[in-house]
Symmetry: D3
Subunit: 335 residues, 6 copies
Amino acid sequence: MSNISTDLPSKITTDIDFDKPGVQHGALTMPYSHNLSPWGSILMPVSVFAGGTGPTVLLVGGNHGDEYEGPIACMKLIRELDIDKLTGRVIVIPALNYPAVKNGTRLSPIDGKNMNRAFPGDRAGTVTDMIADYVQRFILPLCDAVADIHAGGRMMSFLPTSVIHRLADARHMDRTLEAAKAFNAPNCLVLEELDPQGMLDTAVEELGTLFISTELGGGGSMSVETVRIAYDGMRNLLVHMGVLSEPLRKNGDTRFLETPDGAFVTAEQDGILEFAAELGQKVSAGEAIAYIHDIDRPMAAPAVYRAPLDGIVMHRHVAGLIGRGDCLSVIAVEI
Amino acid sequence: MSNISTDLPSKITTDIDFDKPGVQHGALTMPYSHNLSPWGSILMPVSVFAGGTGPTVLLVGGNHGDEYEGPIACMKLIRELDIDKLTGRVIVIPALNYPAVKNGTRLSPIDGKNMNRAFPGDRAGTVTDMIADYVQRFILPLCDAVADIHAGGRMMSFLPTSVIHRLADARHMDRTLEAAKAFNAPNCLVLEELDPQGMLDTAVEELGTLFISTELGGGGSMSVETVRIAYDGMRNLLVHMGVLSEPLRKNGDTRFLETPDGAFVTAEQDGILEFAAELGQKVSAGEAIAYIHDIDRPMAAPAVYRAPLDGIVMHRHVAGLIGRGDCLSVIAVEI
Amino acid sequence: MSNISTDLPSKITTDIDFDKPGVQHGALTMPYSHNLSPWGSILMPVSVFAGGTGPTVLLVGGNHGDEYEGPIACMKLIRELDIDKLTGRVIVIPALNYPAVKNGTRLSPIDGKNMNRAFPGDRAGTVTDMIADYVQRFILPLCDAVADIHAGGRMMSFLPTSVIHRLADARHMDRTLEAAKAFNAPNCLVLEELDPQGMLDTAVEELGTLFISTELGGGGSMSVETVRIAYDGMRNLLVHMGVLSEPLRKNGDTRFLETPDGAFVTAEQDGILEFAAELGQKVSAGEAIAYIHDIDRPMAAPAVYRAPLDGIVMHRHVAGLIGRGDCLSVIAVEI
Amino acid sequence: MSNISTDLPSKITTDIDFDKPGVQHGALTMPYSHNLSPWGSILMPVSVFAGGTGPTVLLVGGNHGDEYEGPIACMKLIRELDIDKLTGRVIVIPALNYPAVKNGTRLSPIDGKNMNRAFPGDRAGTVTDMIADYVQRFILPLCDAVADIHAGGRMMSFLPTSVIHRLADARHMDRTLEAAKAFNAPNCLVLEELDPQGMLDTAVEELGTLFISTELGGGGSMSVETVRIAYDGMRNLLVHMGVLSEPLRKNGDTRFLETPDGAFVTAEQDGILEFAAELGQKVSAGEAIAYIHDIDRPMAAPAVYRAPLDGIVMHRHVAGLIGRGDCLSVIAVEI
Amino acid sequence: MSNISTDLPSKITTDIDFDKPGVQHGALTMPYSHNLSPWGSILMPVSVFAGGTGPTVLLVGGNHGDEYEGPIACMKLIRELDIDKLTGRVIVIPALNYPAVKNGTRLSPIDGKNMNRAFPGDRAGTVTDMIADYVQRFILPLCDAVADIHAGGRMMSFLPTSVIHRLADARHMDRTLEAAKAFNAPNCLVLEELDPQGMLDTAVEELGTLFISTELGGGGSMSVETVRIAYDGMRNLLVHMGVLSEPLRKNGDTRFLETPDGAFVTAEQDGILEFAAELGQKVSAGEAIAYIHDIDRPMAAPAVYRAPLDGIVMHRHVAGLIGRGDCLSVIAVEI
Amino acid sequence: MSNISTDLPSKITTDIDFDKPGVQHGALTMPYSHNLSPWGSILMPVSVFAGGTGPTVLLVGGNHGDEYEGPIACMKLIRELDIDKLTGRVIVIPALNYPAVKNGTRLSPIDGKNMNRAFPGDRAGTVTDMIADYVQRFILPLCDAVADIHAGGRMMSFLPTSVIHRLADARHMDRTLEAAKAFNAPNCLVLEELDPQGMLDTAVEELGTLFISTELGGGGSMSVETVRIAYDGMRNLLVHMGVLSEPLRKNGDTRFLETPDGAFVTAEQDGILEFAAELGQKVSAGEAIAYIHDIDRPMAAPAVYRAPLDGIVMHRHVAGLIGRGDCLSVIAVEI
């Protein structure tokens, strides 16, 4: 990361002073010149609560624009955090890929980019690049921990889970596991990213900073339960990090899961998807978990998809239509 | 309906002979000339099982293209109906608005039309019109009962229910109630359509024919349970009508519901939707059931939407984004 | 008009009671079912001020969605009308083609229709048709006069003018001329519509009701002056009709203009438009008023367009690009 | 056709005087108001050559916008017709669906309509409707014969042929056969239209007027040979009708063909199309004429399509991609 | 700029020989391969007038494609420049972002790029990049001065002004000021670019070459006056640089303006824009200059935007609709 | 090519083991995350036939997605290659730009990229980049010869020809000429690429590997003859390389052609294209080969395009519409 410095200014400006004590609600203002707004800009909301000399935690929603638990829980936190109970600093970005959140799509409608593959960003790049660059160079260095709330989005659905990575550094791993326990989601998936390049996760972890993410619900919607998990989890993280002075909100223990090799099931044809197992259901290797039907040949047997291993249905494709190459399901096993 | 006759031929042709005994899997072939297929056509699958001299039942899926329980359960029935157990005729159309089903959208991508507002159709109209005309003039007259399987589609979610209408004719009403009990969905909504013009429901009921519909699940997806309700319900209807000789598949009793005046809640602003009550939950008049958040003003209190009456949450808007004028929720009460 | 009755209800509902005294701000709610809002609706604002037993005047903005003087002046009036000074009823619809106004386009983005060619409308038609039908059957019969504020829109620019029609009925014509004088725009164009079918103008005039329109500014923008003309004109009309008790707002006399045969100049090729005369300029027949340049042949002489008659430049095409068949300019003469 | 009169004026105007002797090159001007041209119009070229008191022949190109032999041969004729050799009147419309021709598509990009299904048109309809209405009411009544030059367009390819219909009236049929012989295309297809409603053909023939059409080449292109057939054919028709005084241009005899029941082969799956027989090739019933390959399963045998009867390959789908329901080929037999 | 050399050839070819005396009208031909033109190219017009051994001036229009004074004045100059009065060389590019000019949009429709952020370009990049690279490497090195005619474009409107930059080099600054006086626009804005990377301005000034730009009119249109300013200004620059031998065209003195910190006013919500002050009007800090109205709440007070400082309204957003983040207005002060 | 190594893994995975003897039909699986498939992938078919210790030949179709001879002939080969007759290894990729082939377009619909300008690719780039990177780093190093089957695609048509490049290395050139003779297409065009950067051709030739390409037919279609040339040519190349043990399929001798400077004719205006010479026709310099007509001025003489030199018509633009800058024709001469 030696090539990342704050020497060059960002093109993004802000009315937020990250060093000022107290509560600030402001925006990152990024230039965005286009046919209908030659000297236009985009205003992405940021709130800062600086209540003591303790650590700094960054809370992020809307990394993908069709995942709503993050924005909702972050906004609720912005309205409900009591500065008097804070012993550190909280930075809240409820809609990190702001154009995508306004559009309700995973990717930015402006540049088609995935915010979670855009780090460390580019100060002279597109809007997504500029945001990533600003976060990388001007916000992450301030932070001791980062929570990034993801959900299934429009096309996927998950058994509600927090997500952490297997980290090479044992102390980093231990601190992360402790944070995940404090976060207290019903499940915690421990992942090894195959291709971590460009993720916010990677940008944070490479700085040695604590990182925790989630996969909650899906279908481009939300539920009372998944918003609660995100909200309580973020508050718990603040408590755990010594930034917020209140009791942990416990709701049972967290089950730790992992996805062995072969856990991902890919669709091999287009068609109408019928799931034969629900999220969270225990399945045995070889058991039928889904069918793909061809509406043009209703009398023909559908393609059968089977569990690749014994485990729990962790993820399913949501939409009624599925395409060749789409991820149909993921099976997880308890650690 | 005196202006509907079979004197003029449809532009649709078919390889199905509705009068022939036995099992036939064929298609309605409708001309569709466009820039990329000047002499093109669309082939919509139809199956017929004629096993005895008993009555005729029409089973329909895919009236709206993003509701999947209908196509899946119809295709399963097509594969599993045993001609030897039939004492009448079953006509199955798994994808009534075939172009919409292929596209995964409520409306036809060809003409933008809602099949369920296109009846009695038009033989010289667009594709949707031609299908409605064919069904109206050449299929409905053959039928003693019709089941039309709807679900929430991409944007709505429902407590699983069958749906019937309040009918002026008492005998028609009684026969319909009996059929709904046999259908055996967990709930049955008894509706008074405000503007029934153009619906398949109306086309069927005006002929004095039995009609039953459903609203199952939603989010443009399916669940094991909702497919089962559709499948068992259609088999039960066949049994009830004396077309299929097997026992009814009972799964508890059906609760009858209705939606009083004022049961529909409409969104009055754009924003991010948070639901505070789940489908099926009992709510009291004035209780908060949802919030709409403005991501541009995260510190501002969200707009609160309250239950208009004591009842059960029957329907919710699914998507994380909602717009002014969208139907946010419907509250039903037990009859 | 014998086929227009209020026997069939509109599909549009409203929280406005047109017969109730006092001030009401409400909406027409029209059903609009589409892929992203199956049970959706559109809410079009309407305000009513009923202050006495005098006549009723309807004030309309946003008949075309890219003409802003109407919506702005109507909204200003809604905020500033003093119910205590009213001796009759004022109905204000600031955005008649509401979807077009939200979209900033002449035509509705929903059905592509021109509101001003949609009368008398169709209760079972598209959104534009439903609005026209409601206005035709339920609002126009209440009215003694109607003002419909038009402007140049995105592609045209006008010398600010009120517009009235030559009417066959002499008394109707006289009353209209008097109203135009009271309206007190700097100019008043007296038109003979070549093809009046479908216009709000026609719908109003066929009822024997007073009608006055405008063409103000353009370029899809507004100016301080054109908003003032619209606002003062509408107040003046209320005063003139005996609905509002205040002095007329006079700003000089109105010049009456007409457009003789041949007054319209049509572009005969595509290219870049250069105007050689400004709006309001006096030109002589044969004088060059515009050039069309071909950017691919910069060394070639541009096509020259000449004034077809002695007169005043009343209208010009705004955009830098013009196409074969576009209206390039209109020349008017004083009556 | 009793409901078609010239009582109502068209919205289309023209600078052509169809009754004036000599040569005129003008346009039909039709109003077309849209977001980018509120008072816009479309100018469709028409030429008239009136050289004597003999009959009138209408020559039409561009009925479909992606068929180029018609426009090219008509423009060539417009430049080369010698008024001094004329003994009657020739009306030439080189681009009947002018917006489609400008766009290079079968259908009009403005209203999506097929000109050849729009007759008798509608004076108050869309642009395509207005053109059909004008031709129906103001041009066809002037004519003794009509030639309408079609070709395969972008998606189809034909063995070059003239096309006439089987007509109930024997004299009408005989006159048409004589005209087809004079037209002298290499082939002449004698068709029975299954659904003739809306065609220019029908509009002409219902008036008892002579009608001849063609299907020439295809692939959205042209060849030297197919332009020659169209050009010579139109000149020959003028000679045959007694309108042009020159010798017939003979190029061998015309072979008469017809398409028996079952001659049309429809694709039943999507895929990559390989033709196994060329246009004009003699094939035997059951012989493989085409394959459809699935690129996702290259090792699988392609679907085989076979000639439905002994005959000549008259038509083939051009594009490399074909879809379920597309017309794959047509086999013709000699009469 | 050490990395910019002419060692690698451009992919652009031209029939222009920049070293040849006399008048040449030619084109830059750049390869542009796409689905509808695999071996296609784009031909961008360039004219060269080489009349003596004096300096070289480059005149540019169409840097943004919706600003028309540049193309019109450049084409007029191309037609009217008298080679016999030239004592140097003039290179005229009337449409620098040629695809954008043909499309009437600020940005290129081919690659979505802003020509004025594309310098120094990329020989192997997109079309916009290739043009910038060619100008940077093969044209700018020939030049002693460059005029780049900008206007407000479709969405902005300006008090007509020339524009120069504050330059670090005093002599460069003085020469630029002298040129601006000679250019003789009514106003001259002296700017400090916040982020000059990628601009043609920067590319020219980094070479130590004289650069002058303009902001004239707007709304995607032109006026007689703004075309005159551009045309006279360019001729005056040629005279001032010693390239054209004729008197300066003086039209009063130039007023010098600047935009202090805080001069830019940004919209903070979406809505309908009403301007309360006209371009050129003197306003005082705190004075209302614009309102943004919410058509969904016509009875609510609009958002008020106030002048941030005492000054002159230099710029306004044109369109009736404005969005959060759009530049609403710029206030300038006299130097 | 020193910067190309296999040190970094591709993001593409495959079930193919290139080192395994025998026949394998598998796929390259590349990640493709987008709004409708967050964890999606694309499966591009690859087949490997390893039958001996001899050399390796790569056969490629679908480098451009609208050229069908390649995919069809490759699929036929995949089905018909007899492993027992192989003495080396054959790798077949029937659809190199798989997304483009599925879409029937030259360029990928995913990233708009031309596969044949994407080499050496980018492992972290778009889908097209990832494919090019995989082929460059993991497949080309295995190969002794590569055949890449191109055709005219939707917009161009060619006299069927193989294509080779003039190579600096004499031995490389000789080997290539021998291979072209063995390939035995009716013509062989010997080309000097003006801008070879990014081509598969270049990537292969820079490794010293044998490369042969084709241009066959066009119009986005295929013919029996052009598929035969591709199929026989690829088999012949296998025989020639010592990979397949069977006789060469000879069909007459190959004529060698080249395109001298000035052989390319470019359209200078938009319009309707009429070709006056057919593919393969001998033309003399100055002879009219095509016309461009202006449908808006049918009476005007069309623009005439003449042969730039004596030669053979090698290529023509197919579509009836042509645009300024499009390649109209290419004339070749015999070597």
